[in-house]
Symmetry: C2
Subunit: 219 residues, 2 copies
């Protein structure tokens, strides 16, 4: 899991190369904390970027959706995709506007999305997806029946050609700006769960499960 | 501001069409709450999706970055882009795995990114970008000098061809699942600021500004 791969010409971080990370374990940590990706593909020369949820199992990313979706219709024909996951950690307020930045961690995966045909891999992928987003939910819910499995498309993107980009830490000001009379620092941002809201059909005695109450994306 | 436009064939929401919103004011509310977009473009047949910050001024979206970036190098030649902004509001836990969903608001803009050449528009755009992300910061920081302005590229994307997609509310289970013995409901998620961290060069007496202390993206 500590494999570090050489970036390809397409995944090498060009801008701020010191932020480039090519370590597979580091990419997995980012992918495992997130669960929304932005999938890019091209259709008649027009790029589209669609947000969707995903799960990871080993070196595969799985995304799913209705078989009717424009994105999936296009993808199962095997076109090139880019899958990007971004975690925002904070605003970086420097003394100069020019040196303002953000703390973030992102992964960009280039590859092909392939339709998962095998029913067994499909079920495994859907379980991985569900457990990726809400660990503990799969066994606690009514699992997919045959009709639902048929209505669901699952796509596999191999995590082969990828790069991560990470910025952490305080602002980096030019030396001559250090005396500029303003506050400078980091405003940390995080995604937080509020209190869960049961729906109106909730059965008596069904309390909010622990995996919902204690929900966090931090490992 | 209550203009509703007909979707084009490219922006019409195909999947779950009841979630499609084509109202300009609704799109602006989403764009103004967010500040990270995912920009898609194609390079030698390969789609790329890059996260970056943005600002809105009237019917234009502005993004910026070092003139060296791969994305910007490509874009100033006037290629087609897709800019997507996604706000995640919650996990929707239904009784069946199949009906699990997310509450979210997203905007997809199709268009061309054009390099802003005019120095005055560039400065206006950078101010709009800064004020979009941290209102109040521009006047409180050292503003860009000529060298910095030259080193910064700003791109304009007109908000013309766009659509929004919104899901809110509780899970929608099939009637026959309502008796399934599990908790169901929504786990609301939100982006929260933690306490600001001043950097080690902070001048004595420079307290955390109010616009940082009270930071929120909610209007």
């Amino acid at each position: 899991m500590s494999e570090t791969q050489m970036p390809t010409q397409r995944t090498r971080v060009v801008r701020e190369p010191e932020r480039g990370v090519y370590d597979r374990a580091a990419a997995y940590r980012i992918l495992d904390e997130g669960f929304i990706c932005h999938v890019g593909f091209s259709l008649d020369g027009q790029p589209f970027v669609i947000p969707t949820s995903y799960g990871r199992k080993d070196a595969n990313l799985y995304i799913h959706g209705s078989a009717a979706s424009r994105m999936l219709r296009q993808m199962k024909e095997g076109v090139a995709v880019c899958v990007t996951v971004t975690l925002l950690d904070g605003l970086v307020l420097a003394r100069s506007i020019f040196n303002h930045s953000m703390n973030y961690r992102s992964v960009v995966i280039l590859g092909k999305a392939t339709l998962v045909d095998d029913p067994e891999e499909k079920l495994t992928a859907l379980r991985a997806l569900s457990e990726h987003i809400v660990p503990g939910r799969w066994d606690d819910a009514r699992q997919p029946n045959e009709r639902e499995l048929k209505a669901t498309s699952v796509l596999r993107v191999a995590i082969e050609e990828f790069s991560s980009k990470v910025r952490t830490g305080p602002p980096i000001d030019d030396a001559e700006d250090l005396a500029f009379p303003t506050w400078a620092g980091v405003l940390p941002l995080e995604m937080k769960a509020r209190e869960a809201i049961g729906d109106e059909n909730s059965l008596a005695g069904k309390a909010v499960p622990e995996y919902v109450k204690g929900y966090t994306r931090k490992g």
